[in-house]
């Protein structure tokens, strides 16, 4: 009588050091091989989309900081951009440049945090300490600008809250001077490391057609060879004034996504350098009515550090939005996880999950 295998259920529970937040996967295993993986979400569902209907447009802004808490300023950018498009407000040029400088620095900080956590997931504890040292310098820059490290709430509808303080430009200059050399050092830590290569090459393969069908965006899509970046395809703010490359990688696996993110950090330093050189004078906030009333519907999207972050706003002419939907990149990228986990081992789950770069604040909202 042939024996039938019984699959073991393994619960990678909501409390786990490597799940980047409260996220649960229920794995069905045949020995070490994964037969089925079912993600369970909702452990951080705070009901933001319902709460915003009870708040005015200015009160909603700090809630957007808490969505993707690793890269807060990028979330604010998409929100103020959507409202400015609907109200047809023109943002002064100096505010645009300040926004770009802060957003690209935020992208660098987000990728540094990701890389530190990814190294630690795979067992390499050293990159955690080195990369977080640089992230602290970037958070210092945010602190002298807005007063808070993690949740700045600095952007406003029509510009930024106030002008950059003296000492900001020197500090950013100093950071940009020393950062590329440090990145080369960190490359030596992980990129050529044999153990890292064995654990990430050929693991978690996602083809380009699958990636587009799943709606995946950001470094996960670019790591599958598709050169799709919203800053090039649908330039928002003043990104068409800057000269930068879009890194892609043809290997379609975890290593490809890692290489894309490391290169993106270099391109972000290029953009910040150009923005600092061209920073114009002027005011930093446009004239906006005291109580903001919005009418109409619009979907606005930006290239956040994790992918395409979008906001759909419907206003009915009152001070509160009628409907606000947040299209979170980590939520959509995570849908491709069961596909990437096909025919892989239990030890690969952590590597693949880490390479998608999720942040549960925006997955669950």
């Amino acid at each position: 009588m042939p024996l039938e295998p019984v699959h073991m259920q393994l619960n990678l529970g909501p409390q786990h050091p490597s799940t980047h937040g409260v996220f649960r996967i229920v794995l069905s295993l045949d020995g070490e091989r994964i037969v089925k993986a079912e993600p369970v979400l909702g452990y951080l569902h705070r009901g933001i989309e319902k709460l915003v209907e009870y708040r005015t447009y200015s009160q909603i802004l700090p809630m957007f900081d808490r969505l993707d808490y690793v890269a807060a300023l990028l979330n604010e950018l998409v929100y103020v951009q959507a409202i400015e498009k609907l109200l047809e407000i023109e943002v002064p040029p100096r505010a645009e440049y300040v926004r770009i400088i802060l957003c690209e620095l935020q992208r660098i900080a987000s990728h540094l945090m990701w890389c530190a956590a990814y190294g630690m997931d795979l067992g390499a504890i050293t990159p955690f300490f080195y990369l977080l040292r640089e992230r602290e310098i970037v958070l210092d820059i945010f602190e002298i600008v807005s007063g808070a490290r993690l949740t700045p709430a600095f952007f406003r509808i029509g510009g930024v809250r106030e002008d950059i303080p003296p000492g900001f430009i020197e500090k950013v200059d100093k950071f940009l001077d020393m950062f590329p050399k440090k990145l080369d050092d960190y490359d030596q830590l992980l990129t050529g490391n044999e153990i890292f290569l064995v654990r990430t090459k050929g693991v978690g393969v996602l083809s380009a057609e699958d990636a587009i069908n799943f709606g995946v965006s950001g470094p996960v899509l670019r790591g599958s060879g598709v050169k799709f970046d919203i800053r090039r395809v649908e330039p928002y703010s003043i990104y068409d004034h800057f000269d930068f490359e879009i890194p892609t990688n043809e290997s379609k696996d975890c290593f490809g996504r890692y290489a894309v993110r490391m290169e993106e950090m270099r391109q972000s330093t290029r953009i910040v350098r150009q923005a600092l050189d061209k920073l114009p004078d002027g005011e930093v906030r446009a004239k906006v009515p005291k109580s903001i009333k919005v009418e109409g519907e619009h979907y606005s999207r930006i290239e956040a550090s994790k992918g395409e972050l979008g906001v759909y706003i419907k206003g009915d002419g009152s001070t509160n939005p009628y409907r606000l939907k947040i299209r979170a990149p980590a939520f959509v990228n995570l849908m491709a996880l069961p596909k990437m986990l096909e025919n892989s081992l239990v030890a690969d789950v952590v590597a693949i999950l880490g390479s998608i770069d999720i942040c549960m604040g925006e997955v669950d909202r």
Binding site: L41, G42, H45, G47, E49, K50, L51, Y54, R55, T56, Q59, A208, E209, D210, I212, N213, F214, G215, V226, K227, F228, R232, V233, E234, H298, Y299, R301, E308, G310, Y312, K314, T319, N320, R323, K325, R327, F331, V332, L334, M335, D364, R365
Partner: protein, 210 residues
């Protein structure tokens, strides 16, 4: 699948050409218009799969990428909005479908774009819309035994409309009418309000804690 990347375009002539194509294929059964640089198509639930399949497979429109899927409560009916994008042509397309509030059923587009999987699950639990043909429509973000559909307009939050900052008395009322299983330290509120109010709320705290 065409994997060339084109810049997103709001060029009216290209949008008009796409609109004519869609209207030629589905004459009279849909309504198509150009709003704010996007091609907006309104259709009923019975034509939805055909329209979406056509938008994805046609060589000139080629909407291979679904940006987002959301639901909306319009008061007298519910609406499902599909935001699509064509990577190779740079066209932005929106498809809108209206269904009634009771027994709302819409065919699932999971077979066309796998990206609709979790979006539809979330819309189903938040609005109570049934997506027919979806492989596994169970709750995604809410608890399994959650009652009600939170994003409908008739689902009120416990605190009512809190667009104005809450005073101490409003907070106390909301807390008392809410869960009973709360212990006192959780709903202490210090600072604002008159000292009389603060002292009273603390007096209750002491009585309950002792």
């Amino acid at each position: 699948m065409d994997l060339r990347i084109a810049r997103a375009t709001e060029d009216p002539s290209r949008l008009e050409a796409a609109r004519e194509k869609v209207e030629a294929k589905f004459a009279g059964q849909i309504k198509a218009g150009i709003v704010r640089g996007e091609l907006v198509i309104e259709t009923g639930p019975e034509r939805l799969l055909e329209v979406c399949g056509f938008l994805r497979d046609s060589k000139n429109i080629d909407c291979s990428y679904m940006r987002c899927l959301l639901g909306m409560d319009l008061g007298d009916c519910l609406e499902v909005i599909y935001l699509l994008y064509s990577i190779s042509k740079g066209l932005k397309v929106t498809v809108r479908t209206k269904v009634g509030r009771d027994n709302a059923g819409v065919p699932s587009v999971y077979s066309i774009w796998k990206s609709a999987d979790w979006h539809e699950r979330e819309t189903a639990e938040m609005f109570g819309i049934r997506f027919e043909g979806h492989p596994d429509l169970k709750t995604l973000l809410l608890k399994e035994d959650f009652e009600g559909h939170p994003l409908r307009k008739d689902f009120k939050l416990k605190s009512g409309d809190s667009a104005k900052p809450q005073t101490n008395s409003a907070a106390k009322e909301a807390d008392q009418s809410g869960n009973e299983a709360k212990t006192e330290p959780g709903n202490k509120r210090a600072g604002s309000g008159s000292s009389q109010m603060t002292f009273e709320s603390l007096k209750e705290t002491d009585n309950d804690a002792s």
